[in-house]
């Protein structure tokens, strides 16, 4: 594919992510932190985010399957997830975490279960999207171009 076309595709894709509310300006901040000294900053942070989130989501699923649910611990974990998602600008995930926390405070098991499903769903989407974006970027780099800001 043409380099220019690739670049344009990347820009459009990125714009759409912002537009649809998957990402917010925090992600832009991240990108601005990437420079010659830190060329893979964004990728590193996002990878870390994926690891962290998957771990947390597993733990949350396990906690909700227990007989006696430890809401406090769950709350702490959702808080972590919220923190991570807000740090990288995963807007939708962050929002859902807030809702999740409310359910935890209310000790509403039904709500928590429903919310967890939603979070997992959103997380899945954002992961796929970010991965596609990184692939595009890699393609551009391979084609010898530079990533448009």
């Amino acid at each position: 594919m043409d380099l220019v076309q690739l670049q344009r595709q990347l820009v459009d894709y990125r714009t759409s992510l912002y537009h649809e509310g998957f990402l917010d300006e925090q992600f832009t901040q991240l990108q601005s932190l990437q420079d010659e000294n830190n060329p893979d900053f964004v990728v590193e942070v996002v990878s870390l985010f994926f690891e962290d989130s998957e771990r947390l989501l597993n733990e949350l699923s396990k906690a909700l399957e227990q007989q006696v649910i430890d809401f406090k611990r769950m709350d702490a974990q959702v808080h972590q997830l919220k923190g991570s998602s807000s740090s990288i600008g995963a807007h939708r995930v962050q929002k859902l975490c807030i809702v999740f926390r409310n359910y935890c405070e209310a000790q509403n098991v039904e709500g928590c279960l429903k919310c967890l499903q939603q979070v997992k769903h959103e997380y899945g989407i954002i992961k796929t999207k970010l991965e596609s974006m990184f692939q595009l970027e890699q393609q551009i780099l391979n084609a010898g171009g530079s990533i448009p800001v």
């Binding site: 300006e25 991240l30 932190l33 990437q34 870390l48 962290d52 991570s84 998602s85 740090s87 800001v149």
Partner: protein, 740 residues
């Protein structure tokens, strides 16, 4: 013949005369003896008779006379010597007493006569007193009536009741046939029959006021008898009977203005009412003086009562009026309050609505600045940023116009580059000017200091406003901006007589003149220019936009800067010059580091602002830890990362200048760590600055941080710019608490 001593028992037979004498003497004696008896009886009975002893004398006289005559009985015949001597004694005594009595009588006759005259005199006096008594009684009666009438009249403050009562009571007291009151009409030319005693609803008869009889009555304050044929007296239908006597009296109608202090309003009243009283026709009664007096007194009382009633009416009316006004004022006040509240709400809402997009513009422009840009692009972005900053300031000022007017606005003083201000203005105005093909020239005097102390933003806003106006109102030609330090003689301009500048060592007066060759202004309109919202309509400026606030705001800023601003123009079509003088401070020895950090230095992109600054970042969340680290690395810091409080305590050293702690409830006990670090580093200059990073926007968090001993608090998310400015502030002031 010789007489013998024997008593001849036999009468001389032929002396008849002697017989008759004998009998008369006898009766005389009898009478003479009984009269004294009667006199004695009288004396006994009359205690008041003053001449008792006279009576006694009379008694004696009469008794003696009787005795004499009695003894005379024995002398007719031959009588003895004793009888003769007794007779002589009696006669002598009688003679004595009668002479004394006669003399006495002569004495007392005048007295007796005078008694009679005195008696007559006393009788007359008694009659007179009786008469007077009668008069007094009638007067007292009258007085009682008057009091009663007055009481009745004055017991009410209602005009109609007063008048009605007067008529009724008068009618009753004086037993009148008819009693009527004629009031002057509004025009004052006629008298109208207002009240009558007998007729229930008097039809409004009117009588012209300039009638001789009426004038006569009005000119005197006494009750005047008038003819029953007079128009005012024709109160009864023309009758079969002769009408009784009619009396009329004036009733002064007093006004408030008539009551002068210490002055009886005798002569100053002009309006009178007429009271007409008619006696019953068939009783042949006459008007007595006391009745007339009664009528006069009543008339006066009525006048007073009426005036009281009138005053009361006035005051009631005034009170009602006041109450209405009160209500209206209250309503108006409430409406005004509502309006003010509505305006404030509107301002508050608009405030928010206007600021939000402004923030977006400013934020994104500043972000844009950080990216790779070509020099032209950079210039454009900077201009956008500067304009939007100005606009944001303007919004703040416009929406806080009330603060300006209160005088509670304060200037943000700071040291700034004066030349740069003018250059900025020029840059901002050049595009528009070139579109209009206007030539703009800037002339800065060589003695103008480069740096000054003052409110940079507002000074720029003011100059920009004036220059903008110059551009706006010029269709062609050129605009020249000159700036220089004002000397004392130039300061005292005849155009600004109220401006009295005071020179002092630390200050100088900047004088800026903006001259344009545009449409000019009519000199008469110049005073209006600086008034809020007043636009100059005449020169076809209607479609040039603007709210008319610009110059008003400028004037206020200039006033705050202890300066003066005015506009001169020769007239329409001759251009105008705006002159501005403001007081600025002289900066102390200026070195670059003291200047406030200007975040838009074009060459700073990518340059590390804090080379080698050792910081410690503590955050349990790996992702956010990494982001913060990236941020700080980008700024050139030397970052150490820890994920737990123990690690933090272990690794923290005096080399670290700042420790960023992500506090989240309920995980890390950041407050505890703070205290421990305080304990660890007792010397203040060794201790690193402790800053909390949190997403919590409540005041409790902030207070807890402050209480725990933290030096700063930042809200997440942190942008690059924010981190930069925070670190700058932090290092300079050693404390930074973000406003929540």
């Amino acid at each position: 013949m010789e007489s013998c001593n024997c008593i001849e028992p036999q009468w001389p037979p032929d002396d008849l005369l002697m017989k008759y004498q004998y009998i008369s003497d006898f009766f005389i004696a009898l009478a003479y003896f009984s009269i004294p008896l009667e006199l004695i009886y009288f004396v006994k009975k009359s205690a008041v008779f003053p001449y008792r002893w006279v009576l006694v004398q009379f008694g004696a006289f009469i008794v003696l006379c009787g005795a004499t005559h009695l003894i005379n009985l024995w002398t007719f015949t031959v009588h003895s010597r004793t009888v003769a001597s007794v007779m002589t004694t009696a006669k002598v005594l009688t003679a004595a007493v009668s002479c004394i009595t006669a003399l006495m009588l002569v004495h007392i006759i005048p007295d007796l006569l005078s008694v009679k005259t005195r008696e007559l005199f006393l009788k007359n006096k008694a009659a007179e007193l009786d008469r007077e008594m009668g008069l007094i009684r009638t007067q007292e009666e009258t007085g009682r009536h008057v009091r009663m009438l007055t009481h009745e009249i004055r017991s009410t403050l209602d005009r109609h009741t007063i008048l009605k009562t007067t008529l009724v009571e008068l009618g009753r007291t004086l037993a009148l046939e008819e009693c009527a009151l004629w009031m002057p009409t509004r025009t004052g030319l006629e008298l109208q029959l207002s009240y009558t005693l007998r007729q229930q609803n008097p039809v409004g008869y009117t009588v012209p006021i300039h009638h001789p009889v009426i004038n006569q009555v009005f000119s005197s304050n006494r009750a005047v008898k008038i003819s029953p044929n007079c128009p005012v007296a024709r109160l009864r239908p023309a009758g079969k009977y002769m009408p009784g006597e009619v009396v009329a009296v004036r009733v002064p109608l007093l006004h408030l203005s008539n009551f002068h202090i210490n002055d009886w309003p005798e002569l100053s009243t002009k309006r009178y009412a007429l009271m007409v009283l008619m006696l019953p026709s068939d009783s042949a009664r006459q008007w007595h003086v006391h009745e007339l007096e009664l009528v006069e007194v009543v008339a006066d009382q009525v006048a007073v009562a009426l005036s009281h009633a009138a005053i009361l009416e006035e005051s009631m009316r005034a009170r009602d009026l006041l109450m209405d006004q009160n209500v209206a004022l209250d309503l108006a006040r409430r409406e005004a309050e509502t309006a003010i509240r509505a305006r404030n709400d509107f301002l508050a809402v608009m405030n928010h609505e206007m600021r939000t997009p402004m923030h977006a513009i400013i934020a994104l422009s500043s972000l844009l600045q950080e990216t790779e840009l070509t020099p032209e692009q950079r210039l454009m972005v900077e201009t956008v940023l500067k304009s939007s900053n100005l606009l944001a300031t303007l919004i703040n000022d416009v929406l806080d116009l009330s603060r300006l007017e209160d005088g509670s606005l304060q200037l943000d003083l700071g040291t700034f580059n004066l030349y740069a201000v003018f250059r900025e203005v020029l840059n901002l105005i050049k595009p528009i000017a070139s579109v209009k093909k206007l030539h703009v020239s800037l002339n800065l005097a060589p003695d103008l200091p480069e740096y000054a102390v003052g409110d940079e933003k507002r000074l720029m806003q003011t100059i920009l406003n004036i220059v903008g106006n110059a551009v706006k109102f010029s269709k062609e030609g050129s605009i020249s901006i000159t700036a220089f330090v004002a000397k004392l003689d130039t300061l005292r301009d005849s155009k600004a007589p109220e401006f009295l500048p005071v020179l002092s060592d630390n200050h100088f007066y900047l004088r800026v003149q903006v001259k344009d060759s545009g449409s000019g202004i009519n000199p008469l309109d110049i005073p209006k220019l600086f008034t809020k919202f007043a636009q100059n309509q005449s020169t076809g400026t209607r479609n040039s936009g603007g709210s008319g606030l610009g110059l008003a705001i400028c004037k206020r800023f200039v006033n705050l800067m202890e300066g003066h601003i005015w506009i001169e123009s020769e007239g329409l079509g001759k251009g105008c010059t705006a002159i501005l003088i403001v007081k600025l401070g002289m900066p102390e020895r200026v070195n670059e580091s003291k200047l406030p950090y200007m975040p838009k230095m074009p060459t700073n992109h990518g340059q590390t602002a804090f080379p080698g600054l050792k910081v410690l970042v503590m955050d349990e969340n790996g992702v956010s830890r990494m982001v913060t680290k990236g941020l700080l690395l980008h700024l050139g810091c030397d970052v150490t990362m820890v994920g737990s409080s123990d690690e933090c305590l272990r690794l923290v050293s005096h080399e670290h200048k700042v420790v960023f702690m992500d506090i989240c409830v309920p995980c890390i006990d950041s407050y505890g760590i703070t205290i421990r670090i305080h304990e660890k580093f007792t010397k203040r200059h060794e201790r690193p600055l402790l800053v909390a990073l949190t997403g919590n926007t409540d005041k409790v968090t902030k207070e807890n941080c402050m209480r725990a001993g933290m030096d700063g608090l930042i809200l997440k998310p942190v942008s690059l710019d924010k981190m930069r400015s925070v670190l700058t502030d932090l290092l300079e002031h050693r404390v930074f608490f973000e406003a929540i």
